[in-house]
């Protein structure tokens, strides 16, 4: 497999850049084997940030991408889309968490920067071994189950039913209504609960 990794280091405004020396991280990343291109940007998840990734893939003929920014639980999907828009398989991408697990939990600039460099190195080594993966599909049973027939359950069931789908509403008691039916009037309008 060709080894042309692009590394994109996000500053997240000052969230990352105030603790981690992002420029140095990008410089160091550029020296890792396989890395063809490394840069920083203020907000990598923003439209211009994603455009930067897309354009760099094209211009630098990148084959794999590493984004060093926030937690993958936050923006992994965003960047997979950006990578795909650049024309490479979205799974030839790795995300490195230098915000939640670095800049937000450390205060020593030198140590945090060294950690960020290590984490980027880890991401690059991994992405070099990534395989292109294909998304498959599964069928959907177009029917919903609502457990509990109180206010929440009835409202959800009605909204789904109004949307045109079948709903099964299961209630523990012999009548739906839940606690609501025991209430008298309800604030702030003081209209009747049932």
């Amino acid at each position: 497999m060709s080894k042309r990794v692009g590394v994109f280091v996000c500053e997240c405004g000052t969230n990352i850049a105030s603790v981690v020396d992002t420029v140095r991280v990008a410089e160091e990343a550029g020296k890792f084997p396989g890395v063809a291109f490394a840069t920083t940007y203020k907000y990598m998840c923003s439209d211009p940030g994603q455009e930067l990734i897309r354009k760099s893939i094209e211009e630098q003929k990148l084959e794999q991408v590493v984004v060093a920014s926030c937690s993958p639980r936050m923006h992994e999907k965003t960047f997979r889309r950006a990578v795909a828009a650049g024309g490479i398989n979205p799974y030839l991408f790795e995300m490195v968490n230098i915000r939640e697990q670095d800049s937000w939990v450390h205060t020593d600039r030198e140590q945090a920067t060294r950690k960020a460099i290590d984490l980027v190195k880890m991401g690059v080594s991994k992405v070099l071994r990534n395989q292109p993966l294909q998304i498959s599909t599964i069928p959907v049973t177009r029917k919903a189950l609502v457990i509990g027939g109180g206010i929440a359950g009835m409202q959800a069931a009605l909204d789904i039913a109004e949307g045109g789908y079948q709903v099964i509403l299961v209630e523990r008691e012999a009548s739906i209504g839940g606690k609501m039916t025991q209430l008298d009037k309800t604030f702030p309008t003081m209209d009747c609960a049932a």
Binding site: S71, E100, Q101, W104, V105, H106, T107, A112, R114, D118
Partner: protein
Amino acid sequence: MSINYDQNWNPTIIVFACNWCTYAAADLAGLNHLEYPADVRIIRTPCSGRMDPMLVLRAFNRGADGVLLSG
């Protein structure tokens, strides 16, 4: 109980963190800006069930000072 260690020593500590709990918890620590030593390096695993003892041995073999499995 207290641990005395060289303040200048930067150990290599590898954490294998389950994506669903420990990794999320580490993110939550970040959200709350709870500070901890910067020697910790987290490797994300899809689940702690994915952990292979081989990986722990590999880490020690390559010079890690400590390994934490959490999930």
